[in-house]
Amino acid sequence: MHYENRQPPEGINVTKEHPLRQFVRLAIAATVLMVLVVGVLQFSGGWLAKRIPFSFEQRVMRGMEVDFSGEVDAPELTAYLNDLAQRLIKELPMEDGMDVIVHYNPDDTFNAFATVGGNLQFYRGLLVQMPNENALAMVMAHEISHVMHRDPVAGLGGGVASMLAMMMLTGNAGTGMAGDVLTRTGVLTSIQFTRRMEMAADNEALPAVYGLYGHVEGAGTLFELVAQEHGGSGDLAPVWLERFASTHPLDSDRVEAITARAAAQGWPVSGEMTPLPEEFFDWLEESAN
């Protein structure tokens, strides 16, 4: 018996395709897939969620008994905030049957947000920085506009649908680092939707501020404050990239948009500022203790 090992031809176990070529092909395919899936789901999930009657939203939120107030009772402040909201609603094209409830939270967070069921949450951290009622009215009108546009429920619907899709696409065993990168692609895609919501809310809010005070001075204060709060971006990213990767429009863009809109509509950009109630900061102080 004779035994021998012959050398097999080289490369029979190896693909002929160049790895970089394969990489480019797969990366493009995966990115397109992710953007399409998230885009379609954000759009359709948001569209479907908006078909849910507002009254159902309110009922569900009441049933859940969410504690928005952070266990602090600030009746005068909450009453004032709700009164301002009601005055603004009169200036806004809100549908019948819709309403908002403003909640106050004594936390130092510099934020205010609108959530499902017409619930608005204002934090002490934001209120304490308000120089006058005009600035506060712009924030309030912006958040009410989110409720009017059904953005919280649309965000929830589209967000949940696209999150599930992303998890299914990338969450299975084996995608590893590629999965992480693709999830970010998905998040970047969905951000494009939320940013549009923010811009639309700004657009809706400005006429209400003008309607209430007869001018739009102070409407841009919030964004100047936000820019200060962030202390500038401090990032090395170019402006177009920062814009693309932000959930909200850039503060400078928003101030610019307000100025342009006011000029186009002939709204005065200066006028008498309406002060906050005298006790406003006392209420904030009391609630903090």
Binding site: Q7, T15, P19, G174, T175, A178, G179
Partner: protein
């Protein structure tokens, strides 16, 4: 932003160094295979009976790890399916290296053949790190009437 930069650096670095290492390794494998081909490694379980042979277990083990680029690529391929080509070359190298190490051990014993050759593979790392052990083993057939212990100790 910084994170994205790190990612690109790791990916490019993984590609360049992974390719260089792979090329160097393949060159060494091809060279050593040409030398070791004189010693046949046979899968058969029935050794030759033409003369007396001592038998001795020989093995060669390799633990091979993936690079960042290959791991990333395999993740992308996992979405669409198909051949996980980055790992095909990796495992091809591991198998051939394990076989070479086994043969090199057998050659030290002056074996004429290695019979009943088998491969075993096992995953040795979990999570995001991909590393495999490939173990080739067989029975070295050492011709001669001398005591096996003297054959082994002189090797």
């Amino acid at each position: 932003m910084i994170e994205a930069g790190f990612f690109v650096v790791l990916l490019v670095g993984g590609y360049i160094f992974g390719r260089l290492a792979e090329k160097r390794h393949m060159k060494s494998i091809i060279k050593r295979e040409a030398i070791n081909n004189a010693l046949p490694a046979i899968a058969s379980r029935h050794p030759p009976t033409d003369q007396p042979y001592h038998q001795h277990l020989v093995g060669g083990s390799v633990v091979i790890g993936s690079d960042y680029f290959k791991s990333f690529m395999s993740g992308l391929i996992n979405i669409f399916g198909g051949r996980v080509t980055p790992f095909e070359t990796l495992l091809d190298r591991a198998r051939r290296e394990a076989m070479l190490r086994m043969k090199e051990e057998a050659r030290r014993y002056n074996a004429a053949y290695v019979f009943n050759v088998k491969y075993e593979t096992t995953r040795v790392a979990t999570g995001k790190v991909a590393a495999m052990e490939v173990f080739a083993y067989g029975t070295a057939m050492i011709p001669g009437n001398r005591q096996l212990s003297s054959v082994i100790s002189s090797a």
